[in-house]
Symmetry: C2
Subunit: 139 residues, 2 copies
């Protein structure tokens, strides 16, 4: 059965990364690196202020993949990511736009590979990755 999506198809998801997002993410994961929770320390660094966890920003890419997955009949899961790079900081209050573009479709293995790009409001790339979506059960 066709997966119902096409190469080149794109999903866009935008979200402002808030202070509560970063605080809750630290609490969920246990990652209390000063980068994310110590404003006074971060003022002394090249960043100047707290930055979001990279994996929090990657979570926004997963949200984009879920929007695409809604077009695929059946049950899908995230199989993983290749070459994830956090190419620039996301500061609290930054708005991130994720562009998620289907790169290839393997109908036999029931997998979709997609290029991920995340950018902050000034257009600076903050995230690149390749995502792998797997169809585990047809509906």
């Amino acid at each position: 059965m066709s997966l119902g999506v096409s190469v080149g198809e794109t999903v866009r998801f935008r979200k402002t990364v808030t202070e509560s997002d970063v605080g809750l993410f630290a609490g969920i994961t246990g990652d209390f690196a000063p980068n994310h929770v110590d404003e006074e320390y971060m003022r002394t660094t090249p960043y100047g202020t707290r930055i979001a966890h990279g994996v929090l920003v990657l979570g926004l890419a997963s949200t984009a993949s879920t929007i695409l997955a809604g077009r695929i009949p059946g049950t899908t899961v995230s199989a993983g990511y290749d070459r994830v790079r956090f190419t620039g900081p996301v500061r609290i209050g930054d708005t991130v736009t994720i562009d998620y573009t289907v790169e290839s479709i393997d109908e036999e293995r029931r997998r979709v590979r997609a290029a991920v790009r995340g950018a902050t409001q000034d257009g600076t790339t903050c995230l690149v990755a390749t995502h792998i979506l797997a169809v585990v059960a047809d509906s």
Copy 2:
């Protein structure tokens, strides 16, 4: 200056993935895939129940990296991950053990590569990845 860590050095981090973790992670990221929030639907799938977001589990690997980074003088950030694979489901209530082992150190580029393995309480691997930690400012 030496980065202060050695090849083979390991950090272990364990955490139970709770219902509130999964619910809050959905709220932070916007990823309300049925996999994570629809128990009735998930009963009809091979998983039988809600599963955690893969990227939430990856966040526990970042926590392990932060523990290691605490041994490195200066400011470190996560540069990214290579070949992240969510190799098995993490169900609500599962306890995940992350083993984070230094694989190589590039003193010149100020980078540490580490092998990540996550396993649930029965020993099943749920996550593999390679992490890249970057030192951005010496203290």
